[in-house]
């Protein structure tokens, strides 16, 4: 079984648009949306949820105000700026910043604090028109998105094993931190989607370093390559020098937006003529399959 993760460094370059189309083109796969704090793939694939599971992330400190003597020891102990005092409420825990470390519970002389489990989100197993899908939604203002990514990937792997799938297709998160690293470990190929802008190039360089750091093979896709062909050439030159394959370039095509508004992957969007972007995505998918040796 092979695993492909689609990431970008910079947000909004077209990860989900591509993964939506790959979901149509790839055979015998499980789809995994690992952008757990702002997932969008379901807006193209319309999963029918079969199973919903609670996700318990980090624990949270809970204060019993009836025991609190406002000594402030907890706030001094906390390294995460999660406990502060206000005139009307006294010391309170801010759950959005609490990392559940237990240190305040340990130092409180009144035993007014305790550590409790919290449901930080939900993981889902679903069916789509194009195959099974594992996805999740982190509750807002929560930590531990990396842990939830790992849960989604484990779910996808289990489905793939049960159903004998050859491929796990992963839609990753923007950035280079916790959820991105969790979506990279042990994959066979990272497809990095960029755009021909100075921001796109800058962010591409950083995410390529992360991918190399974890020893994962990478390939690059330049989306909307024609919005600035000078920068596209700069990106191509950079990739050539680093020995990184370009999996394909995709033209700026208004049909991509129309398909998104219709809630359909662009390669499955029915128009009078095959659109240029859809054809380029299909050609790119053939090259990616070759890189993954899925077809062999």
């Amino acid at each position: 079984m092979k695993q492909l993760t689609v990431i970008s460094g910079k947000g909004g370059t077209g990860k989900t648009t591509l993964v939506g189309s790959f979901a149509v083109l790839a055979e015998n796969k499980v789809i995994a949306d690992c952008d757990v704090d702002a997932p969008d793939l379901h807006l193209l694939l319309h999963p029918a949820i079969q199973k919903k599971m609670e996700f318990k992330g980090l624990k949270v400190a809970v204060m019993d105000k009836s025991l609190c003597i406002e000594c402030g020891t907890c706030a001094e102990t906390c390294r995460f700026n999660a406990i502060a005092s206000s005139e009307d409420l006294g010391y309170v825990v801010n759950p959005a910043r609490c990392e559940g470390c237990d240190a305040c519970v340990y130092t409180c002389p009144q035993e007014a604090l305790s550590l409790q489990e919290r449901v930080s989100g939900y993981a889902y197993l679903s069916k789509t028109k194009y195959g099974p899908m594992a996805h999740a939604q982190l509750n807002i203002a929560e930590e531990a998105s990396g842990k939830l990514v790992t849960v989604v990937r484990e779910n996808a792997r289990r489905i793939a094993e049960q159903e004998g799938c050859d491929l796990i297709l992963i839609d990753g998160a923007p950035g280079i931190g916790c959820p991105v690293i969790a979506s990279l470990s042990g994959v066979d190929l990272a497809l990095i989607v960029t755009e021909p802008t100075q921001s796109g190039l800058h962010d591409l360089k950083r995410i390529l370093e992360v991918v190399a750091h974890f020893g994962v093979l990478s390939a690059v896709c330049i989306n909307k390559y024609d919005i600035n062909e000078t920068v596209t050439e700069e990106i191509e030159r950079f990739c050539r020098e680093k020995g990184i394959k370009i999996a394909g370039n995709i033209v700026y095509d208004e049909t991509v937006m129309k398909a998104m508004v219709a809630g359909v992957p662009v390669v499955a969007f029915e128009t009078e003529a095959k659109t240029e972007a859809a054809e380029e995505i299909a050609r790119m998918w053939a090259r990616i399959e070759h890189l993954l040796h899925v077809g062999s």
Binding site: G11, A141, E142, E143, G175, I176, E195
Partner: protein, 282 residues
Amino acid sequence: MIISVASGKGGTGKTTVAVNLALALPNGHVQLLDCDVEEPNAHLFLYPKIKETKPVHTPVPEINYEQCDYCGKCATACEYNALVVVPQKRVLVFPGLCHGCGLCSLVCPQDAISEVPRAIGVIKKGTSGDGSIALVYGLLNIGEVRATPVIDAVKAEIDPAKTVIVDVPPGTACPVIAAVQGSDYCILVTEPTPFGLYDLKLAVAVLRVLKLPFGVVINKAGVGDRKVYEYCEKEAIPILLEIPHDKRIARCYSEGVPFIKELPEWQERFAAMMKRIEEHEQ
């Protein structure tokens, strides 16, 4: 006044709004903090002269083996499994799992754990090439997982004498909270598409939890559909500004040029948005 610029979805134009807004305000009175420390971009538009680079550290435990009796209390206490005690032999520390909370050193009965700093990123301080804006941005080191300490380090540089604009990372999780907290107002940048709308709703939910006042900037107006507008109307969320889907603006962005420099009529529009935000605050 501290104004954060956030979005939920990535690539909607946070940096575009933050940089152009900063440039539209009176010279010398603005500080821009780029808190997207995973992929900071504001500096690509401001050509800054960097005057100072400071490392950001997080504490990790160090074991003094002369005092350690391998009781294992540190490993039991650690919520992140960052310590494993091999009886009578070693204490394995996994810095990548450590959150730097300090509990292991608090619970150690032998006082055998001290904390040592480990570098996880840097912050850079300087001024924009034209000298008008004070810029601070952070960079998380490659392979590091936790962005929040670097974000906190950027925010520790806030200059209260200035109008502070905070460029926030995408998403709705911990780095976003760390970046927006303490703001007086938050600008949410979205695009009028189904992805933009879905992620906007998540971002709105975050700001409501944090009880921060906010308004929306619609970028790439003209593409997609009208559902973002309908949502804002229904929820009584003010639309502060619309930036059209315009080839000249896209071209400026791709070249690393703030579009306000090429299209000076936007100076007034950003200044008017700022006025509206300030009036809201009074």
